[in-house]
C-alpha cells in the first residue's frame, strides 16, 4: 500500500463521514461545519489527482466563501436545534433509503464499467496521463471555452442582481 492509496482512503473516509454527518446533525451549524470538513477532504483528493488549481479553488471558494455564507445565514436566521426529519421525512424515510441504496448501486455499477469505455481506457493505456497544470486550464478557459467563461460572468451578475432584488423588495414592504 503506497502513499497515494493511504491518502485516498484517508481523504475518502473523511469526506464520506463528513457527508453523512451533514445529513445527520440536528443543528445546522454542525451540518455546515461537517460540510466544510468534507470540502477540505475533497480538496485533498483533488491534490491527489494532481488538480492543484481545482483544489485551491475548492478551499477558497467552497470552504471559504460559500460556507461562510451558509454560516452567516444560519446565524442570521438564528435557527436552533431542529428535528432531523419532519412529517414527510418520517413517511418517506424508508422509501428514501431504498432509493438511495438503488441509486448508489447504479452509480457504482457505472463507475466500475467506466473503463470499459474505449475512449477512457485507451487514453489510460497509452500513458498520456500527465498532471494538468493551471497553465493548461487557463489556456483552455481563454481559448476554447471563452464564450462559456464570459457567460459565467453574466450568471454571476444575474445572481447579484437577483439577490439584491429579493432582499430589497422585502425591505420596501416592511417600510
Amino acid at each position: 500500500m503506497n502513499a497515494e492509496q493511504i491518502l485516498f482512503i484517508l481523504f475518502g473516509a473523511v469526506s464520506l463521514i463528513g457527508a453523512i454527518a451533514v445529513i445527520s446533525f440536528r443543528h445546522p451549524i454542525y451540518s455546515a461545519l461537517s460540510l466544510i470538513v468534507t470540502f477540505f477532504a475533497q480538496a485533498g483528493l483533488f491534490v491527489l489527482l494532481g488538480a492543484h488549481f481545482v483544489a485551491a479553488v475548492q478551499v477558497i471558494v467552497y470552504a471559504g466563501a460559500i460556507m461562510v455564507l451558509f454560516l452567516f445565514v444560519i446565524m442570521l436566521l438564528n435557527l436552533g436545534t431542529l428535528s432531523v426529519q419532519g412529517a414527510i421525512g418520517r413517511k418517506l424515510k424508508g422509501l428514501a433509503i431504498i432509493l438511495g441504496i438503488l441509486f448508489a448501486a447504479e452509480g457504482i455499477y457505472i463507475a466500475m464499467n467506466a473503463l470499459n469505455d474505449t475512449a477512457v481506457a485507451s487514453a489510460e493505456s497509452t500513458g498520456a496521463t500527465i498532471t494538468t497544470t493551471t497553465y493548461d486550464i487557463g489556456e483552455l478557459l481563454f481559448s476554447k471555452y471563452l464564450l462559456p467563461f464570459e457567460v459565467t460572468s453574466l450568471i454571476l451578475l444575474a445572481a447579484l442582481i437577483g439577490v439584491i432584488v429579493l432582499v430589497k423588495r422585502e425591505g420596501q414592504e416592511e417600510n
Binding site: 445546522p28 483528493l45 460559500i66 438511495g100 464499467n113 493505456s125 454571476l156 445572481a159 429579493l166
Partner: protein, 131 residues
Amino acid sequence: MLQATITLQLYKGGIFIDRAIMPTTVKGKGFYMSLEYYLILSALLFTTGVIGVLIRRNAIIIFMCIELMLNAANLAFVAISRSLGEATGQVFVFFVMTVAAAEVAIGLAIIVSVFKHRQTVNVDEVNSLKG
C-alpha cells in the same frame, strides 16, 4: 464483476511498468489509484446528498446536500480529467463552482425572504402549491 475489473486494471498497470514511461515513475510515486475508486467514492457522496435532500426538512440543510452532490460531480470530473490526461474536466469544475456560487447566493436569499414571511425554513410547511 468488481474482481474482474480490478484484474484488468492491474494488467494494464503491468504494461505501464514495462514501457517504463509511466508518469508516476517520473514523479516518483510508483503507483496511483485507478479511476473507478474515485468514481465509486463520487457515487457514494452523491447518494449521501440525495438521501439528505429526501429526508431533511430544513431548507438550509437541503441546500448543503445539493452542494454535496455538486462536489461529488466535481470529483468525478477531476478523476476522469486525470484519467484522460486532459484539462477540460477541470475547466468544467470551474464552471460548476461558478454556478454553485450563484445558486447558493440566490437560494439563501430566497430562504431568508421565506423565513421573513413565514418564520420557518421547513420545506414541509411551505406548500402553497398544494393542488
